[in-house]
């Protein structure tokens, strides 16, 4: 049986988070009524001309700096010519020969193994509108709201060898573009769309197999499923003596299969040429340096710092830097309580579970980072046990007030008065003579039962360590 190797390269279209379109002043906000965000330029009336939105260029510069790429100092826009009803000008303004970003790399981890994926290029271009085939019997509706939305098309080298690696890369890219604020990352709304170029080859073969491109995957799950299906299909086809033809395919989430969209023969000749309506854009060093200075600390650097400064594990550091909002939250909480590891546990444990249950993003957490920090500080100073802290957390989640107020109001303070605790212990010992005798006759279990009784009698407010200590002392008397 022949062994196969999968080869994957990704092309990711990220919508840049500019307020207005790349070549017009129209809004890029999602969800407006059809064609209400389409100006004369966007619908390509006769005579209109494009004017470049510098904000889109700045997004591309940010990205290039964040991945350590080369930035082309002279940027030329090219026209990619083809006819389609949702492409109003009959050409898309893009970059062919001189993309703004060349090279760069992202490091991803799959099952604890790090791998560096190199990028080929990233170029600026405008999005097309949308053709709406439903709701119009025998006709097609055209919505040009999206036409002219700025995109950065990010192309990787074919360096991924499994769907897991592809997903890890796509996730890392998604984290990065949202981290540096150039993309809102909303995959449902099409802000981050992935095309996967997939081929297989016998292990050991140097040449790539023939690739097929799976278009427009808008979730990481679909990306994984589509690649897995495609790889199986290609291997089966080859093992059955068939050939792979270069093609563009679509993934159908309902069937879990890919199907042919167009073959290589149908491929367009896009007749690219430099757009004479736009002058070359020069990136001067001052501009680049200003953008560099304004870049936030990047995920990789932050992971290293979290390990160093807060003593969290590499895995935890990776999870905590899954988004800038999460990282910021963790760091604020950690600094508020001075307990990095404990803060990490709470953020990734209790908080993550609650957010997940409520389907909330970290940015919408009802419990603020400062509150969580204050809560952890109360565990640290012995005011709260872990159990009590969870009750306080619930109070915070419900908006019942600040940490100390909730402790006070709900009487959740851990018992610190040893006199009071001794009294409870005495009562428990008196009431549980059988257990006392069992313990004295060597049954260790009986001790735990007594601790449980004391905790119960204190309604959870006793400090378990203190209970252990006092109980032991009394029993040994």
């Amino acid at each position: 049986m022949m062994k196969w190797e999968t080869v994957i390269g990704l092309e990711v279209h990220t919508q840049l988070a500019t307020k207005s379109k790349i070549f017009s002043g129209s809004s890029t906000a999602f969800g407006a009524a059809p064609n209400t965000q389409a100006s004369a330029v966007d619908i390509a009336l006769p005579g209109v001309l494009p004017v470049l939105n510098k904000g889109a260029v700045e997004c591309a510069i940010k990205f290039g700096l964040a991945i350590g790429a080369n930035l082309n100092r002279i940027n030329v826009f090219d026209r990619k010519n083809y006819f389609y009803p949702d492409l109003p000008k009959g050409y898309q303004i893009s970059q062919l020969a001189k993309p703004i970003v060349e090279g760069g790399a992202l490091t991803v981890a799959v099952d604890g193994v790090e791998k560096t994926i190199h990028l080929t290029r990233a170029h600026m271009e405008e999005d097309a509108g949308k053709s709406l085939h439903e709701d119009f019997h025998g006709m097609t509706g055209i919505d040009l709201n999206r036409a002219g939305t700025p995109l950065l098309e990010i192309v990787s080298e074919p360096e991924m060898r499994s769907s897991a690696e592809a997903v890890a890369y796509a996730r890392a890219l998604h984290t990065l573009v949202t981290w540096i604020g150039i993309c809102d990352g909303n995959m449902q709304e099409g802000s981050f769309r992935v095309d996967a170029n997939v081929s297989v080859r016998p292990v050991g073969q140097a040449e790539f197999g023939t690739r097929r491109e799976i278009k427009n995957l808008n979730s990481f799950r679909f990306l994984q499923q589509a690649i897995d299906y495609e790889v199986r299909w290609q291997i089966e086809t080859l093992e059955d003596g068939g050939r792979i033809e270069q093609a563009t395919v679509l993934f159908d989430p309902d069937t879990g299969e890919t199907r042919m969209m167009r073959s290589k023969e149908d491929a367009h000749d896009y007749r690219y040429f430099p757009d004479p309506d736009l002058l070359p854009v020069k990136l001067d060093e001052d501009w680049i340096e200003a953008v560099r200075a304004a870049l936030p600390e990047l995920p990789a650097a932050m992971q290293a710092r979290f390990q160093r400064d807060y003593g969290v594990s590499p895995y935890d550091a990776a999870v905590l830097t899954g988004s800038r909002a999460l990282a910021d939250y963790f760091e604020t909480a950690a600094q508020a309580c001075g307990q990095g590891k404990l803060a990490a546990n709470w953020v990734m444990g209790e908080l993550a579970a609650a957010l997940n249950k409520a389907e909330l993003d970290i940015s919408a957490s009802p419990v603020s980072a400062a509150q969580l920090g204050a809560l952890i500080a109360r565990i640290q100073d012995g005011t709260l046990s872990g159990k009590l802290a969870r009750q306080v957390f619930e109070g915070l989640w419900e908006g019942a007030g600040e940490v100390d107020a909730i402790i006070e109001a709900r009487g959740l303070k851990q018992m610190s008065d040893s006199g009071e605790l001794e009294k409870i212990i005495d009562e428990v010992l008196a009431a549980n003579q059988k257990s006392v005798e069992e313990f004295r006759s060597g049954k260790e279990k009986a001790f735990n039962a007594l601790v449980g009784q004391v905790m119960k009698a204190s309604r959870g407010k006793a400090n378990p360590a203190q209970v252990n200590e006092l109980l032991k002392a009394k029993l040994q008397n």
């Binding site: 009336l45 006769p46 000749d269 309506d277």
Partner: protein, 486 residues
């Protein structure tokens, strides 16, 4: 009519309240009504709109808010989008298109208070040198209606020559202002590329297109240029420069002026009568104090082939938006989407436009791009370099505007290459982005006008207008109007 109809004279009459803008507009509207059936210079005339605009100009004058040309009516080439007016670009494709906005040039004229007399006829999408490719019929040369007026701004040139308008706007991609100006005996100027905004001017070849004024005299053109030019943030190729008064140097003497005579422009292919008239003009300029120097524009012989690669390449892409989806013509019967595209474009575009789209698509296609498009761009730079060299030894370049005078309607319509040769002398300035102008310098034996071309260095419009104005003070070719049309 005489120089009493110069723009400055009309403006003075308006300012002195000797005539109102409405009365003036009405005079021209009457003349259009009388002459247009024979000349076909206008595609759209809308007296009601014109008179409303004239009334607004009168109000400005009454309020003391008049600018230098407020109230003077002019005609606009139908390539400029005009809010509320039909804008056809001479094509069936846009036969029903009413623009919802004004081109930048139109905005400027409106803001300056110049009422529009209507939209002038033109070669379809500005592709032609005879105005015979218009979907709205050929324009006739007012000097002899059996002859073409030139193109593509043929309607503009003809309406000015026939004094149906005091002046008109035109556009020039390869000579479309200068060649019809020459063939109709008027003055026309194509400014330095980037001086006049292209926003709202329907694109033919974006890197070459430039709007400019067409009028009887250089002085008129200077006043119009003052209105038309200026930075426009909506056009990325618009140049940010300080405002100039293009009339400032009109009266300067020409003493010491160095006139460059490109030997290639006086070679084979030039009509003898045209050559003689141009020689006479050179003699006149010498009398006015100029000296001449022979120069060489060696690569300009490649201008036509280079132009017919680059202009169609850009046009093939620029005209893709005319797809029947959103506006303009759509074929009445079609099956699939591709069928709709094919039929719409087959029926909506004329033969010359289709020829250029095909040439353009071909030279940009995979495997041919380097050999045609890239090669043409390289030669384009060589042509521009020739001019740079030339302007080291001269202030202005002089030659014929066109190799001959107006030709008969239909005479060249079956031979595109013969037709293309008409722009032999005008195309190099477009390729280099340089300003060029044409002014009348005589008549041939059939009484048809002859045009003299000046090409200046970048931003030397004021100098060129100075030369032209001094020449026009010494001659009266520009003041002559066709006799038969009264």
């Amino acid at each position: 009519m005489s120089s009493e109809t110069s723009l400055s004279a009309l403006a003075a009459q308006l300012a002195a309240r000797q005539i109102s803008s409405r009365e003036l507009a009405q005079t021209y509207l009457d003349r259009i009504a009388a002459l247009n059936p024979a000349i076909n210079a206008f595609i759209t005339v809308d007296p009601e709109k014109t008179l409303l605009e004239a009334a607004a100009a009168d109000a400005l004058i009454a309020a003391g808010l008049a600018g230098p040309l407020t109230g003077v009516p002019i005609a606009h080439k139908d390539i400029f989008c005009t809010d509320g007016w039909l804008t056809t670009c001479g094509s069936k494709m846009l036969h029903n298109f009413v623009a919802p906005y004004d081109a930048h040039v139109i905005q400027r004229f409106k803001a300056a208070g110049l009422p529009s007399l209507g939209k002038t006829n033109m070669d379809e999408f500005a592709m032609g040198s005879s105005n015979e490719t218009s979907h709205f019929g050929a324009v006739k040369n007012p000097w002899n209606t059996a002859y073409v007026p030139g193109g593509s701004s043929g309607g503009a040139a003809a309406c000015v020559a026939a004094r149906m308008a005091p002046a008109a706007t035109g556009t020039d991609t390869g000579g479309s202002i200068r060649q019809p100006a020459a063939l109709c005996g008027i003055t026309g100027l194509k400014p330095t590329y980037g001086l006049v905004s292209r926003y709202g001017m329907i694109a033919f070849a974006s890197s070459l297109d430039q709007a400019g004024p067409m009028a009887p005299s250089a002085e008129d053109c200077a006043l119009l240029l003052n209105v038309m030019t200026g930075f426009d943030p909506n056009d990325s190729t618009s140049l940010e420069r300080d405002k100039e008064d293009y009339a400032r140097d009109l009266d300067k003497p020409l003493t010491g002026l160095r006139v460059g005579l490109p030997k290639e422009f006086f070679a084979e292919g030039l009509n003898n009568e045209v050559a003689a008239a141009v020689d006479a003009a050179v003699a006149e300029l010498k009398k006015l104090g100029a000296t001449t120097v022979e120069i060489s524009l060696a690569n300009s012989k490649l201008a036509i082939p280079v132009y017919y690669v680059l202009a169609p390449a850009e046009a093939s892409s620029n005209l893709s938006r005319f797809d029947g989806v959103r506006y303009g013509y759509r074929a009445p019967d079609y099956g699939s989407l591709d069928d709709m595209y094919c039929k719409t474009r087959a029926q909506g575009f004329g033969a010359e436009v289709k020829r250029r789209i095909l040439i353009g698509a071909y030279v940009l296609s995979h495997g041919y791009y380097d050999a045609y498009y890239l090669q043409a761009q390289k030669i384009r730079r060589l042509i521009a370099n020739d001019f740079s060299e030339a302007f080291k030894v001269c202030d202005v370049i002089l030659g014929p505007t066109a190799p001959g005078t107006a030709f008969r309607l239909g005479e060249k319509s079956d031979d595109p290459v013969e037709m293309y040769l008409n722009d032999l002398y005008t195309i190099p300035a477009n390729l280099a982005g340089l300003p060029g102008m044409s002014l009348p310098c005589g008549f041939d034996s059939q009484g048809l006008p002859i045009g003299l071309q000046l090409v200046g260095n970048y931003f030397s419009e004021a100098k060129m207008l100075n030369v032209a104005h001094q020449y026009q003070r010494a001659t009266d070719w520009h003041a002559r109007a066709p006799e038969g049309l009264k």
